[in-house]
C-alpha cells in the first residue's frame, strides 16, 4: 500500500512538473504569437495582411495535428533538445509545441475583447503600438487572459496524461500501466480521480482569480 502511495505522489509530481513547465514554455511562444495575430489583423495596430494570413494558416495546421502523432514526429527534436526521448522532461517538448498554437488563439480572442474605443483613446494620447499592447491590451484583458490560462493548463494536463503511452511518466502513465495493461482497476480509478481533482483545482483557482482581479464589478 505504501508502495502505491509513493507511486501516486511521484505521479502527481511528474504530472505537475510536465504541465507547469509546458504551460510556461507554451505561453512564452503562444503569447507573442497571439499578440502578433491581433496587431497585424485588419484594423489592428499594424495591419499586415500577408503575415497575418500566413501565421493563421500555420497555427491552424499545427493545431490540427493529433497530439499522438506530434509526440512521435518530434522525437528527433526532443532528443536534440533534451538528450532523451522518454520521460517527463522529454514530454515537455511535444506538449509545448502542441499547446503553443492553441494558446496563441486563446490570447488572440482575449485581446480582441478589449474595447476598440479604449484603444482609440490611447492612440489619441500619442501611444505607440507597442505601448498600446503593453499598457492597454494586455492589462485590460487580464481577467480574460487568466481564464484562458486556466483552460490552457487543464488542457495541457489532459494531454500530459496521454504521454504515458510513450513512457512519459506522471499519473497518466500509471493509469495506463496499471489499469490498462495489468487490469488493476482500483489503481486506475484512483489515478483518474486524482487527475480530475487536479483539473478541478486549476479551473477553480483560475476562475476565482480572474473574477477577483476584474475591476468591472
Amino acid at each position: 500500500m505504501s508502495g502505491l502511495y509513493e507511486m501516486l505522489i511521484k505521479g502527481i509530481k511528474e504530472t505537475l512538473y510536465m504541465t507547469l513547465w509546458s504551460t510556461a514554455l507554451a505561453y512564452a511562444l503562444g503569447l507573442p504569437l497571439g499578440v502578433i495575430l491581433v496587431a497585424t489583423d485588419r484594423g489592428g495596430l499594424r495591419p499586415m495582411r500577408g503575415l497575418n494570413a500566413a501565421l493563421g494558416i500555420i497555427i491552424n495546421i499545427a493545431r490540427s495535428i493529433p497530439f499522438l502523432i506530434l509526440l512521435i514526429a518530434v522525437i528527433p527534436l526532443t532528443r536534440a533538445i533534451v538528450g532523451r526521448m522518454v520521460g517527463s522532461t522529454a514530454t515537455i517538448v511535444p506538449l509545448t509545441l502542441s499547446a503553443a498554437p492553441f494558446i496563441a488563439r486563446l490570447v488572440e480572442s482575449s485581446l480582441k475583447e478589449v474595447d476598440a474605443g479604449v484603444v482609440q483613446a490611447a492612440r489619441s494620447m500619442g501611444a505607440s503600438p507597442m505601448q498600446i499592447i503593453c499598457k492597454v491590451l494586455l492589462p485590460e484583458a487580464r481577467p480574460s487572459l487568466l481564464l484562458g490560462a486556466a483552460i490552457a493548463i487543464t488542457t495541457i494536463l489532459g494531454y500530459s496524461a496521454m504521454a504515458g503511452i510513450v513512457g512519459g511518466g506522471g499519473l497518466g502513465d500509471i493509469a495506463i500501466r496499471y489499469g490498462y495493461y495489468r487490469y488493476q482497476r482500483d489503481t486506475m480509478l484512483i489515478t483518474v480521480a486524482l487527475l480530475v481533482l487536479i483539473v478541478q483545482a486549476f479551473q477553480e483557482v483560475g476562475a476565482r482569480a480572474a473574477k477577483r482581479i476584474d475591476r468591472r464589478i
Binding site: A122, S124, G126, E140, I213, R215
Partner: protein, 272 residues
C-alpha cells in the same frame, strides 16, 4: 491677428467600402475659441474628428496643426503632436482595469513622465474636475458624468492646446450635460484651451460655442457665428437642422438648461 491653431485643407475621406464620407473639408480653428461641429447622424462628424489628429488618415488633403502638416510627420512626431490634442468620447473610453488615478496617469506614463511629477499633476487635475475623493475608485463604480470628468482630466494631463469632444455629452442626462459643458467652458476660459465640440444637439452648440459649422452630405454646408447660423440659416441643411429641432422642445430644454421649470417661467412672466 488671432492665431489659427488648426486647419483642415481639402480634407477628404473615403473608406474602402463605399461613398466618400468627407469631401474637401476646409476648416480654420482659431486659438482659444470653442468651435462647434453639428450634423445629422452619419454625416461624418466622428470621421472628421478622427482625421483631425490622424487617428484616421485622410484619403486626400491635410491637417495643419500650428502650421505643421500632420502628413509630413514621422510616426514618432505624430505621436508627439497628438499629445497636444486631447480627445474625449461619448462612451468615455476609460481603462476599466485602472483606478481613476491610474487613468489620469496613463497619458503621462505614455509620455515617460517621472512618477512623482505625474502623480502630483494627476491630483491637480482630479481637483480641477472635482473628483479628488474618487482617485482610488474604479470607472465601473462611477456615474456617466463622473466618468466623463475622469476622461476630461485624462485628456488634459499633457496640457493639450486643443480638446476634441466627440459627442461628449450625448450619453448624459440634461443636468449632467450642463455640468460637463460648464467644466469645458471653464477649461477654455481659464486655461485658454481651444475646444472643438462635435454634437448632433443644437442646445450644446448654443450653450458654449462661439462659431459653428454644419456638416451635411460630407461637405461643410455652412459656417459662422452660432447666433447668425441658427437665426438666419442660409442653406437647406441648416434650415432642416433648426426646424427639425422642434421649437417647443427647444424652449423646454432652454428652460431646463437654466435650472428652471416651465411653471416657474410662466409664473415669472405673470401667465400663471
Amino acid at each position: 491677428m488671432p492665431e489659427i491653431i488648426l486647419q483642415t485643407r481639402g480634407l477628404s475621406k473615403r473608406f474602402a467600402t463605399g461613398d466618400p464620407v468627407l469631401e474637401d473639408v476646409d476648416l480654420d480653428i482659431t486659438a482659444g475659441e470653442i468651435f462647434g461641429l453639428i450634423g445629422k447622424s452619419g454625416a461624418g462628424k466622428s470621421t472628421l474628428a478622427r482625421c483631425v489628429n490622424f487617428l484616421e488618415r485622410p484619403s486626400s488633403g491635410d491637417v495643419l496643426f500650428e502650421g505643421k502638416p500632420l502628413s509630413s510627420l514621422a510616426p514618432r512626431d505624430l505621436y508627439k503632436a497628438r499629445r497636444s490634442m486631447g480627445m474625449i468620447f461619448q462612451q468615455f473610453n476609460l481603462l476599466m482595469q485602472r483606478s481613476v488615478l491610474g487613468n489620469v496617469l496613463f497619458p503621462m506614463e505614455i509620455a515617460h513622465w517621472k512618477k512623482s511629477k505625474a502623480v502630483a499633476r494627476a491630483k491637480e487635475l482630479l481637483d480641477l474636475v472635482k473628483l479628488s475623493d474618487k482617485e482610488n475608485a474604479y470607472p465601473a463604480t462611477l456615474s456617466g458624468g463622473q466618468r466623463q470628468r475622469v476622461a476630461i482630466a485624462r485628456a488634459m494631463a499633457l496640457s493639450p492646446r486643443v480638446l476634441l469632444c466627440d459627442e461628449a455629452t450625448s450619453a448624459l442626462d440634461p443636468e449632467t450635460t450642463r455640468g460637463i459643458l460648464a467644466l469645458l467652458r471653464d477649461i477654455n476660459q481659464r486655461l485658454g484651451v481651444t475646444i472643438i465640440v462635435i454634437t448632433h444637439e443644437m442646445l450644446v452648440i448654443e450653450s458654449i460655442c462661439t462659431r459653428v459649422a454644419i456638416l451635411d452630405n460630407s461637405h461643410v454646408a455652412e459656417i459662422g457665428p452660432v447666433r447668425e447660423v441658427f437665426t438666419h440659416p442660409k442653406t437647406e441643411a441648416a434650415r432642416a437642422l433648426v426646424q427639425s429641432d422642434g421649437r417647443a422642445e427647444r424652449l423646454l430644454r432652454l428652460i431646463e438648461s437654466n435650472g428652471l421649470t416651465v411653471e416657474e417661467v410662466l409664473s415669472r412672466v405673470g401667465i400663471v
